[in-house]
Symmetry: D2
Subunit: 353 residues, 4 copies
């Protein structure tokens, strides 16, 4: 097979535009050859349990799935009875970017809350955490937060702990969409368990794809009392990989050493580098804190459009013209510098607003 | 990462115990590096359309998904309205081995028919193809057949064509679970389109994993009028891969040359070799025709149990003691010969039945 | 409003062709006037709990719903986790006559068993009660039987008890579709609890409509450990009646005295009378035992067609020409006699077969 | 059966606390006796088609269902493909009061919009009507409005027409939750078709229960191209009444003469009378316009609590202390006057706020 793309070309569109980290590809090759029991009864998946326990504590249990939508929907379905609902930010990925998967495939109602920065707080949770015992109201059962959030912001360990304490007091469970949990932990320079197990999180969707895996996310149960039937739900939700040894081998390569941290630090550093490089360009506004690997910016539309032709990235808000620039584990300093230079250059020819 | 298994060890349990064909791994490496648009708008997925058209005709359209359960459920959901049902053999994988995914995640009722050999016929279809327009009966809409079947048997092009003609006459669509379509085509020495497009099949679940892919199956629409909304259904059913270039690159490596055929011929040849080697061993019975890569056998339980400790394989029917031996694309002649020798040796110490 | 039908005209099509028993209509009128709390917090629904306890024991709890499809689907959903399945006879109403409601609205897989007479037995249950713990198999959780069955047959208390004992031993729960439980109890001359609570049944769908109610069926939980969340499931499955006082008042009128028994005895007696009247007509065959209010008969097709123009009834099996004659609570001796006379008369002009 | 309540007692909690209008009960009695084909093939249901055509135009088709939750979910499911979503006000009954039925039983995602008064406008619709063709976004397909709204407000014919024009321009369909459409039409003194068919509405949930029926709501399709499969959806969603003649007879009694209008005018007049009687009581605030039969009020909590012990009604907003007083078709002037007098009396002893 011949290559169909330029392996040097980078974008600032999403960390899932990146490919596979070489150490991950090597792990797949290492796990190849011969026969292994399919559907997760292999040696690699068995070993993976310990790898996750090292990061998330002795009680942690892990179920690899194919993608992030699935990690979220399987998690939430395993945490809820048929009639129970999930409180989340209006901007949560599960609400805005899953095509309706929680409702359509999962039959799960979301109770959404507007937020200024993509982050829930105990006070914001209370806006939907009511009506317990009222059959006319979908029963709140889970609070789901994303860390990092869809707006590039972070929850600190204390913020997560405050949410968990409040949720548990109300009889609610807490789920973290950790599609970019590695970025959050690296940015805060804390172990991942500080943002999850130690803060009281019950179930975690752990993201592998955006941080260098070929494919693979994981449902990680931190509180065994909080979820049931994941083996079965994963199967009926079409997420049971036959050759699971390869998903597990990738996660082992990511997590048994410091690859996850190297990759996350790199992506975050590139985000900061980009923010620093453009912050002072006249006409470019960074409306949100840059806390991990996402940079949100407002710049003239004509400039954005010209830039998008050369460096693909997404317009986040058509109304305000806000765009998102995302750095990946493989974004280099020269990628950033070239992009920043292009931004500066294009700004010089911006139309008057 | 260190290997956790013996890359020389083979089993006769399932073709999904095998790993990844080296040419497939190479294709993944080739597609790596740099950024590509995620979620299927990449150059590899674009190219894949033509690859499938070459095999299945100009009207063919392909949507890669993660696994076979998903290929089936996405296909069937795209072919049916909310209230419509699917006729299949009682032994069909969608009925017996998906953990209930069609019903639980898809909300699709299956109308099952007992068969002698895992194969539907026009007459058997008629046992469930009735009640059209009766609101009390789930409305039959699709006939789903597996080729090869779960019992290792094959449908010939004529048999598929007869089913399609009958189904279409009744206003029904035809779906093929082609998890092992490559094995069927290789065994019959016909192009895959002879078993699908040319026979009148509407939608195909095309299997990649069992024939050498790391992961990846595909929904292939052969009759564009037969399915709607696959883009959306794939997303809501949690099957939209972000780094889809790699699924597509694998399929291209499998299908653009003759890798699919080499792999399928090898697996089939090993099935025949095994059948031939054991057929005349006293006390070993082969109750079903060996038409592709599966060999079903009845042998004394104590012998089966001793063999299973050394060469993993599944007992297919606890009541009759029937076992299944499956050959994979990487099964070698010496693997088969060693297994056959072990069977012969164990039979000499079989307990009197 | 003017009447649009002849209130004297009777059919032998179904007991749900009948209207409302006058005592039931009177109960509705009695419950009318003034305001009562809606959605089941009214005095009539409160009182209904005791009415059901008198029939089904102190632990019984009742939830009225609108129709029989709903009583079954709500019951089964409340007894199962997302991935669990229900074993039933192939001829069960839930499999053949709900339009796929258990699968489509409930997401519940049915595991069906062919039976000679519509009745499950411990041995027949075993044909589907396997694969526990295997994620590839929808997990059996409930055995559902109908009493009376769709073929007019009965389970005796001993037969129900044997099923319950076997099911419980396997870790399964037992559900009874009691759409015609009153007919069964009356035919056997036993209290309804002999066929349910005392035999070990866990959850009952209790039928009111066919035995004289305007509308209304009930989910009756006999084993509180066997079902959860019915309040919520009833609501989300669109079965929470706002003016529930009227459903409850009807059930109270049916069950607080002997109206249920009078109605069931009458319907059963008319079934026997009809069977006795036609049994000896040459050319009429009664292929099944007449155990309650249903009579199955095989007679020449031309005769059946002529009769159906005057006395509506259903052809049960197009292949064999078997028809079903159903007697209702309001079927009279003269209705039966006129119908039997018509059958005898038409038979004299039957075409040679 | 003895009465279990005081038929003179009225509340201000909900119009579904009321019983059955005597003319409706009479219609049920008229339809009683003899046999009629079940499941909707009866003479009453046939006649009902014309009754609805007289109100809603020649193209109108009607499907009776059991309750309002069902009318909404069946309507919305019939208007959408598996992956399509519904835009509605955050306060819409389908979002807040169905226990999650659209999502849980229907698998339908709601896209909600905050509103000042429970009413959508073209501008508010645009807040969710975007992302067409984007698989990551649940695809907007239907705009659902309630008339009257959950906040007692009305849409005028022009307002409905503006919404329909805008929706249709966007390729969206319009559904009206007409649980209280009769109240809206009576209040505006327009025929019901002015608010529906003539304004461009595609599908209507027509409410019968709150305006005097024993039970029964209806899915009314005004644009036959806008909905498919209602016969089947109604069945699988457990809404097919066996003795449907009685639902249809009730609707005929309600709609063939002016009973609907008399009842709606009475309820609305009582709402106005109550508003007028309390508007000037110091300390009582009416924060919303009183446009039909609902009166929202803010009054001291201690007063509300004392009143609620004697005249049941609901607190609408715990945070603000806003309560809702609802008048029914059977609310009398003396009921209102007694309640208003009680409010005035209790206010004299209100605690200082």
């Amino acid at each position: 097979m011949i290559p169909r793309h330029d392996p040097q070309h980078k974008t600032f569109a999403s960390d899932n535009y990146a490919g596979v980290h070489p150490e991950i590809l090597q792990a797949i090759a290492t796990a190849n050859g011969g026969h292994q029991i399919s559907y997760g009864d292999d040696a690699y998946t068995e070993a993976l349990q310990d790898v996750f326990k090292q990061h998330f504590g002795e009680q942690a249990q892990v179920w690899p799935v194919f993608n992030g939508t699935a990690a979220n929907v399987v998690s939430l379905r395993a945490m809820t009875a048929h009639w129970e609902a999930v409180i989340c930010a209006e901007t949560a990925h599960i609400n805005t970017d899953e095509g309706g998967a929680p409702e359509v495939a999962g039959g799960i109602k979301l109770l959404t809350v507007p937020t200024p920065d993509g982050k829930l707080t105990p006070e914001l949770i209370d806006r939907q955490a009511w009506g317990f015992g009222d059959v006319h109201r979908a029963q709140p059962r889970v609070v789901s937060i994303s860390n990092t959030t869809e707006l590039g912001t972070l929850y600190t360990p204390d913020e997560v702990a405050a949410i968990c304490a409040h949720a548990h007091e109300l009889g609610l469970l807490v789920h973290v969409d950790g599609s970019r949990l590695t970025n959050a932990a690296a940015a805060l320079d804390v172990p991942m368990r500080a943002l999850t197990t130690d803060a009281g999180v019950d179930v975690l969707s752990f993201g592998g794809t955006k941080i260098g895996l070929l494919y693979g996310e994981a449902v990680v149960v931190l509180n065994p009392a909080a979820a049931t039937g994941i083996d079965y739900i994963r199967k009926t939700f079409m997420q049971l990989s036959s050759k699971m040894r390869f998903v597990s081998a990738q996660f082992e390569a990511l997590l048994s050493g410091d690859l996850w941290l190297r990759n996350a630090r790199r992506a975050n550093a590139m985000g900061r580098r980009l923010a620093d490089a453009v912050r002072d360009i006249p006409g470019v506004e960074l409306p949100r804190p840059v806390e991990a690997n996402a940079v949100f910016a407002i710049l003239p539309r004509d400039v954005a459009e010209r830039l998008q032709k050369r460096f693909r990235f997404y317009t986040w808000n058509e109304a305000t013209g806000e765009v998102r620039w995302m750095c990946a584990f493989d974004t280099t300093e020269s990628d950033v510098d070239a992009f920043a230079a292009a931004i500066a250059a294009e700004m010089t020819t911006a139309l008057p607003s």
